[in-house]
């Protein structure tokens, strides 16, 4: 479309992929040129991940051609793709938690000595890669012991090992916070300048604008077009992606009415000195009805751990909790649920989805579990409930009988949200609920959270995206080094203020 300075290193034309009866991709083109960062944009379920998987040989396209370096190819799988210089970080973290960080980075390109693995060199090289990504973790530690964000960074490290001509990053930033993202972008730019072609998927528009040179937009499995980033204003991009204008987004801007809570009411949930050894330091926290409390902090600051203590996912070993003034013991998730507390884990794959069940079953799971097995929900009621959430959250495909594992990442997240909303909780703890969710849906979810709060629900909201936290929280608790360090009013808080607190008074 524009000046053809360099020939594309990857050229996909007329790609179609079918999952009968769904046609996930329909005649899509993609051109990746060396030395560019190319964003792949589209709503949840638009077909971004599928396109990537078609390239790397996981799905076989029914139509279309793929050329790499001008040669027509069909890769037999990720190994083959990698051997031809195409490295990929897939959407869900796909590493082996049982292996060490070093192995996860180096396996496949491991240094050898006397025909066997050279462990020391492996750790050393892995450390170099980690360092480049700004990660200071022990390469000999096991990957599973690290948080999801760290794992995501490790996955990126792995992709950059060896000589890669093409680097594909499917939503690499979804669980990273600003510092990590900045670091990642530095690395990406460095690679680009070395002539690597980078394909980048993200639902964060500002990130896309910050880092990408060119973008390809998909909608419903079809190609909308290829654009030069600098020439495409945000609202046009959104319009291309969702096929509507962006008033939804604007609506979300003013959703939260930050009316102060009436003085003297008892908190819905009150934690006093709650803590757990090796997890979060004892903290106090009060949550009131109709209030959204945001948790802010750096990666690894302990937000998730705090949330888990509040919801019985982990058992606290210090402190008390009171629910509506009465002492309450949150020993198991079930006990918390019976008190009306719901928790969506940040680890969608590991602790969220039951991927072998259908959308319908996943949505009713929480509600049904609470009713007990002997009182099945009437089928009619289930169908209505499921249909209403599919509609309300825009879950796609809108088929209650679809297996959850066949849904796109963002849609799986919506299903999880529906599962918890269906239980009509009094306190909803959302850990990264908008991870991997497209702009439109994200705005919907923010609006939903605000509406729920307005109806009297109490919400704890965790997000790696600070603006989001600022935008919808009445109050913000700030964590640093697994300790609650401050609590500020959401209404008056500014970004800088919070960033200062997070970083520890600007000391960094």
């Amino acid at each position: 479309m524009t000046q053809q300075t360099t020939p594309p290193v990857v050229e996909m034309t007329g790609i179609s992929v079918e999952f009968p009866p769904v046609k996930a991709l329909d005649g899509v083109d993609l051109h990746l040129r060396p030395g560019e960062i190319h964003a792949l944009m589209g709503e949840n379920g638009a077909g971004k991940s599928t396109l990537i998987k078609a390239l790397t040989g996981i799905h076989s396209p029914t139509e279309g051609t793929i050329r790499v370096d001008g040669v027509e190819r069909r890769f037999t799988g990720p190994a083959d793709a990698r051997a031809h210089g195409v490295s990929t970080v897939y959407q869900e973290v796909n590493l082996c938690g049982n292996l060490t960080v070093a192995e996860n980075i180096m396996l496949g390109a491991e240094p050898r000595r006397l025909g066997g693995l050279h462990w020391r060199a492996m750790r050393r090289q892995a450390a170099t890669h980690l360092e480049r990504m700004g990660l200071s973790i022990d390469p000999a530690s096991s990957l599973g012991s690290h948080s999801l964000a760290v794992q995501q960074l490790v996955a990126i490290c792995r992709a950059t090992v060896g000589d890669c001509k093409v680097l594909i990053l499917d939503e690499p930033t979804s669980s990273l916070d600003t510092d990590e993202v900045a670091h990642l972008f530095t690395v990406m730019r460095a690679l680009r300048d070395d002539g690597v072609a980078i394909l980048f998927v993200s639902h964060f528009l500002d990130q896309v604008y910050e880092v990408s040179d060119r973008m390809t937009v998909l909608r419903n499995g079809r190609l909308v077009g290829e654009f030069i980033t600098a020439d495409l204003p945000t609202h046009e991009l959104v319009q291309h992606m969702i096929g509507r204008s962006m008033d939804v987004l604007e609506a979300a801007e003013h959703v939260v009415e930050r009316a102060g809570r009436p003085a003297g009411t008892t908190p819905l949930l009150q934690a006093v000195g709650l803590g757990r050894k090796g997890s979060v330091q004892p903290f106090d926290l009060e949550l009131y009805e109709g209030e959204v409390v945001g948790l802010a902090g750096l990666l690894g600051s302990g937000r998730t751990e705090l949330a888990r203590l509040l919801t019985g996912a982990d058992r606290a070993d210090a402190g008390q909790t009171r629910m509506a003034g009465k002492p309450a013991r949150l020993r198991t998730p079930r006990a918390a649920m019976d008190l009306g507390i719901a928790y969506t884990s940040e680890d969608r794959k590991g602790e969220g989805v039951v991927d072998g069940l259908t959308v319908r079953e996943n949505i009713v799971l929480g509600l049904q579990a609470r009713r007990g097995w002997m009182r099945p929900l009437p089928r009619k009621q289930v169908d209505e409930l499921v249909a209403s959430y599919i509609e309300q959250l825009g879950i796609r495909p809108a088929d209650p009988e679809a297996l959850l594992r066949n849904l796109s990442g963002g849609n799986q997240q919506k299903v999880l949200l529906a599962r918890w909303l269906a239980t009509a909780p009094r306190l909803l703890v959302l850990d990264e609920p908008t991870r991997g969710i497209d702009v439109g849906a994200k705005a919907e979810i923010q609006k939903l959270v605000a509406d729920l709060a307005a109806d009297g629900m109490s919400v704890v909201f965790i997000s790696a995206e600070l603006e989001e936290v600022l935008r919808i929280s009445h109050r913000i608790a700030v964590l640093r080094d697994r300790r609650k360090v401050a609590e500020i009013d959401g209404g008056g808080a500014t970004m800088d203020q919070v960033v200062d607190l997070i970083a520890g008074g600007g000391a960094a």
């Binding site: 799988g77 590991g350 929480g366 579990a369």
Partner: protein
């Protein structure tokens, strides 16, 4: 045609039909059912009766497998059940009284339930891996059964008890009526309540289920208890069949048969989605296969080889890979099927296509 081929019960049923055909060829009167002494008689009826204990054990096994577990101890539980019941009857002064028999049955079932609960305790509370947890009882259970019978085969004469094994009810074998009845009730309960879904959720993703408020531990506990109870019932049927409690041989290797039945029926051992109707067909296939060996006249020397070949054939035909091939072949002309190596690397086809 394609739909029929793709149905999860297609291959198990096909195997069953093939076996029946083989039997009929070897012995033309095989499928004939006659009425004799006011009840039905014939090879198919025999098969129903011999399926009964296996069906019960496989039923419990299916539920256990759904939660990602496995129960190796069922064979030993079968032995314990028979030993308890028959020892009680044998030691009572009045073996023909229904009270004695009912007490014996009650005692045996209660003990088996306790054994099941024990397994459940090891698995769900102590967190011991199911295969090892149940291996403990698999070894010790037979010892307990032998302790009860003193290592001898305990035989009794008790008309009410004999009914369980060789009695007839409405022309059908009591054992079969009982087993298929229990099976139907359990299948109904599991599928009509939310139990099935909760079990599947526990089996597929225990962590997610826990966070969703599913009482996974209680469920796990329950299925092992149920497996114990059903195995106990099977033990009663087996001992009533010969009116003897053989602590060494009763239910020997029935756990393998049961697991095989579950798998032939299309339930994955990795847990999650389960399929009770498949288990039913699987149990029938195995019972028929055993009968086939005799009727077709396979020499004992090659019997294991023959069994192996049948199992290999059924599982290969039923394998996701073969199904894919077959459905692909029926769906579209060969020319457009994707090139060979591509589908080999399809990561999500492991289970998606399995059902």
């Amino acid at each position: 045609m394609t739909n029929l081929l793709r149905h999860h019960l297609f291959w198990p049923v096909a195997a069953l039909v093939a076996l029946l055909v083989a039997n009929t060829v070897a012995s033309p009167g095989f499928l004939a059912i006659t009425v004799r002494d006011g009840h039905l008689f014939g090879a198919p009826i025999d098969i129903l009766r011999t399926t009964a204990p296996l069906l019960l054990v496989a039923l419990g096994m299916t539920l256990v497998i759904a939660t990602r577990g496995i129960d190796l101890s069922v064979g030993a539980v079968v032995a314990v059940s028979g030993a308890v019941a028959l020892s009680h009857i044998a030691s009572s002064p009045n073996p023909d009284s229904p009270v004695t028999v009912l007490t014996a049955i009650g005692l045996a079932l209660a003990l088996c339930l306790v054994l099941g609960v024990w397994n459940g305790f090891l698995v769900s509370v102590l967190g011991i891996q199911p295969i090892i947890a149940t291996l403990i009882l698999m070894t010790a259970g037979r010892g307990v059964a032998m302790l009860i019978t003193g290592g001898m085969i305990t035989t009794v004469n008790s008309a009410p008890f004999k009914v369980l094994g060789s009695g007839f009810w409405l022309g059908l074998p009591v054992a079969a009526v009982l087993a298929f009845g229990v099976f139907a009730v359990v299948a109904f309960v599991v599928r009509r309540t939310a139990l099935g879904m909760l079990l599947e959720a526990t089996g597929i993703n225990p962590a997610a289920s826990r966070l969703s408020g599913v009482r996974s531990k209680t469920l796990t506990w329950t299925v092992y208890a149920a497996a114990g109870l059903f195995a106990g019932l099977a033990g009663l049927l087996i001992s009533a069949d010969t009116m003897a409690a053989d602590a060494n041989n009763a239910g020997l290797f029935i756990e393998l048969d049961a697991i095989l039945a579950v798998v032939i029926g299309g339930t994955a051992l990795s847990g999650g989605k389960f399929n009770l109707s498949g288990t039913l067909v699987g149990a029938l296939v195995i019972a028929t296969l055993e009968r086939t060996v005799t009727v077709v006249g396979i020499s004992p020397l090659v019997t294991p080889l023959f069994m192996a070949l049948v199992v290999i054939a059924v599982t290969l035909l039923q394998s996701p890979r073969m199904r894919e091939r077959l459905t692909a072949a029926t769906r579209r002309p060969v020319a457009t099927t994707p090139p060979e190596p591509q589908s080999a690397a399809r990561p999500d086809s492991t289970e998606v296509k399995a059902r």
